[in-house]
Amino acid sequence: MRRLQTRFVFLFLIAIYSQVLLARDLEALPEFLRSDPFGAIVAPDRSGADLASSLYGAKHQVVLTGCRGGYVSFHLVVKLPSPSTYTLDVTIPDPTNKVQIDLFREWFHFTDSDKRYYPDALIPVHATYSSRLPEPDNRIPKQTAQAFWVDVYVAPDTRLGIFSGTAKLKANSKITTLPIQLTVLACVIPGEDVVTIDHNSYGSSWLAQQFAGSYQHDPDHWFESNQFFELIHAYHRVFYEHRGIFHQLGYGHSGKVGPEFAPGLEGSGRAKHITSWSLYDRHYGPLFDGTAFSASRRGPRPIPFVYLPINPEWPASYEFWGERGYEAEFVNVVSEMERHFREKGWTQTNFEIFFNHKKRYKGFPWDGDEVRFPKDLKYFLEYDRLLKKALPPNTPVHFVVRADVSWDMEEQFKVLNGIVRLWCCGGGILSFYRHAPKMLCDRGDVVWYYGGPPGVTDSSSAITEFPLRAWLWGVNGYVHWLTVSPGEDPWFHFDGGQTALIYSGERFGVSEPIPSIRLKIQRNCLQDLALLDSLKRRKSLDSLRAGAARSYNNSTLDDWWNSRPALADLPSDQWLGSAIDDSTKHTQRALGHPGASAWYKVHQYAMSLQAEAK
């Protein structure tokens, strides 16, 4: 009883505290504390409410500190108790333009599941922004607060020292000024990430739905228009700018290939050949040579990975499976593809041969994705044979067989050794095999694991768990299985965003995708990981990892692994799904859900090590 009372008082104080701290008309909040449209911190972030004052210096100025080559971020919250117009102006003057401010208005999504508002989509606005509260387009009755995400970009060659700026609010004939003090440190965040964070998607029909205005303008030709390809490039760009990569699978479970994902084919049997590269090259050319990223802050760079359209029905017709005709069609076309890529100089991208189909979707009689039945592996062996026939042994073009594995991964690591070079592993089952990442990486394979984004109803730090886990595990990356599907009405009846990290900007007059708070937090987490990893010359990697885990949620490195369960000794087709869940209980118990301040503490840890290194 007494414990309950204490807990109640504590929660009450936190609630009061969070209200009080937001009680001024212009407030700065750390990135991990999201405001709702009434000025309170959203419930999942209240565990981090003690961070609310962490941005403020002794003179009530906003104190920011950051390394070069990255971003420092925070929220600004405008609070007006009664309906009113306002103008917000944020500036950190820098004549050299190395310090730049990106300001975003935070959209408050109404989630149907708990009938609450959460900010997530970020609408780019000018650094001087005028509007009114309640914000007309967000349509929130009695809205009294509008939050903004502030990204302060610090270029790698920014001079060291202190930069001064202000956030200024004009409302009700009153001007409120919040001084901003940015300290630029000597450290430079490495441009290369230590974990690749992939954002996956399927096909492109969703683009027509999410950019319906653009599509409806010319529905018959839209999928071949410059607008369409520029939009695809914009999706790649937004993830690239947030230190991620983007995948679009171009075929369905029965082998239907979207026209822009593959060269055009004609003929049959030995006569099958490529007739057109037109759509393919318009789609991929700027991605493979990096020019799609010319205007980005990170600079032009070819995309590192891409799905090929190869599947059991493309380029060879499944009608001929197991016959000479299948081999002829496959070898002819894949050889032509290799030649085309080589002649174009597209040698910095990994071209993935990836089988996504599952037999439950009735297209083919074997699982390409998440093989459960060992008998299905013979198909992989046959494709390896065909590939070897199709590709010159010393080709500079990187064709790589990728397998997304779960049930049978331990067996596949052995049977497909030397065939599969990119492993995308189910995180739960990979947690049984602590030896696997090193074993696979030592033989030159790339290892990612997969899962899905947390929703907006999770704590703000939840999204940092995936990159952190990848780094702690020693794997090369993580895949969010779906990141571009915000549901039918993300604006007023949101499903929570577990399949979306970006949104269409069309509603706001932006012809490109717009980012989210979760994507920004993930990017900042990746910056910190790159920085932490760069310190391994001074401190052992294990020690760095242990320090990060401890800072994150007071865990040990062992807490991030499960012991190999007895079921792992059974053939994978005898496993039960529920038994897999049981076998991951240790990590579920040990890790739990990270509180909102979890990543803040890792960031502080990284910065303290950086200071020591200096």
Binding site: G258, P365, G577
Partner: protein, 194 residues
Amino acid sequence: MKTVSLIGIFMFAILGIAKLSPEEAPSKMQKELDIVAHVGSAMVDGDICQKIVTQRARELMFASDPRDRFLAGDNYDVDDVAFNTVKKTLIRLSHLSSFPADVNLWMPIEGHAGKIQLVIRNKNEMSQFWNWGELYGDIVPQMETVLKTGQRVTVTNKPGWISVLAPVYNSLGDVVGLIETVSQVKMDAHENVK
């Protein structure tokens, strides 16, 4: 003799459908799909079809476990030799059409009256009856007619879609399944690329 007449029917269809105006398209397509379905009824081997879905998959198709929501799907399995044999026949049947078409195989589920499952789909990913991702569904009245009477039935329920359903026989003369020959008046090149 049967083969000769089937070839004759096919040639008639091909010669009869050269270039179609938009108004003519649906009825001409319907005729052509009906011919494909007719041929398919003769060519698809029902005994092999009955060997495709494994016993394990059949046993667990209706199983549920609140702790394992993918129980049925994760145990779905097929005999790949039988599957490939029938799928190749279905693909060849689709070549009889002068426009892009799929020929899908549907089979009722023994012991589960009123239920039917799609067993084989094809590369245009078209079906008027399959809800994406489902392992099985309810037998629609038109399917029931085919299974009970052996008659071919044309279905144009969804605007712009044409399916012709035709029976599949085994060596005992029983109707053990049906094929759906299907196309769309206007193909969507991007639908179901997922």
